[in-house]
Symmetry: C2
Subunit: 177 residues, 2 copies
């Protein structure tokens, strides 16, 4: 507590001060406490959370859209009309989550559901013309903003970061999603 209370620097971010403090406290604890594991997981989750929040509030919300909606539309943009079950699989999401996102996108005229003649249970989700325009517009802005976020790393460092993340992703625990 005392370690954090000081926290004097004017531009200092509260989340970084907390992380440093937590790391130091955990380093003084016996196992299973693991200061390195904490710091890695914390920085990963925190960076992802901040990036998501930033993209959401800065790019998508002002247009009346959402980041999950954009990510789904982006997949449709690359893949063409796709069934919800397939979208859920490549997004590693539940089918009901896909249903919800598609509902709001459809309500706003960005995608449409089409029946599948060969399978009367199934449905295909497709971008409308408006949806495609929305994807193009948001995609350009989002790319620009992502570049800003990682501009503190040079190209080699960015490649190294991507490589490490990709390796962890590919080697994820066998009983993980």
């Amino acid at each position: 507590m005392a370690g954090l209370a000081g926290a004097g620097e004017p531009g200092a971010k509260a989340d970084l001060l907390y992380a440093a403090y937590a790391r130091q406290r955990l380093a003084a604890m016996p196992p299973p406490a693991d200061a390195e594991a904490f710091e890695l997981a914390y920085s990963l989750l925190q960076l992802a959370y901040l990036l998501v929040t930033d993209l959401e509030t800065r790019i998508h919300r002002p247009r009346g859209w959402t980041l999950p909606g954009f990510r789904l539309m982006f997949k449709l943009w690359l893949l063409g009309p796709t069934q919800p079950a397939r979208l859920a699989e490549i997004s590693v999401m539940s089918r009901s989550a896909v249903t919800n996102v598609v509902n709001t996108l459809e309500r706003d005229g960005l995608v449409e559901r089409r029946p599948v003649p060969e399978d009367r249970r199934a449905v295909t989700v497709a971008l409308t013309a408006g949806g495609e325009a929305a994807v193009r517009e948001a995609f350009a802005e989002q790319t620009r903003r992502e570049q800003e976020w990682f501009s503190s790393l040079d190209a080699g460092e960015r490649a190294g970061l991507t490589a490490l993340l990709t390796r962890v992703l590919a080697a994820r625990p066998h009983d993980a999603p």
Copy 2:
């Protein structure tokens, strides 16, 4: 589409196949498309999402808790009784989100709200005995699981990954959260 349709390997994860396909498609597009930026942001967000989902479903939900609830209790464990506004600040969350999480934790007897004599608007959130036991238990399990997730990297690589993430976090855009 054709590039993804094949996707033959039995153990292949659909999200990784999609990422590889998207990267390849973007690489063939003119700017502002940026395949490297996409791959970096995608792998970061995807890894964070999968890790969060895994911790949530494997560790916290089975005990009737949630990951956001745990993260808040963990902060209380390190910091002691803390005001919601301060928790919101170090979590980079809205105050209403803190209110919601505290509500369910309080309902389940894991934390309690205490009035602050010096400021009649304010409140302090504190762990109960049950809450502290819950934190200790979940903390040990979560640390173990995090170690599993990153076991494909050696200690030096993990440190390098942490360093890169920390740098991006510290140098985040000035107008970002």
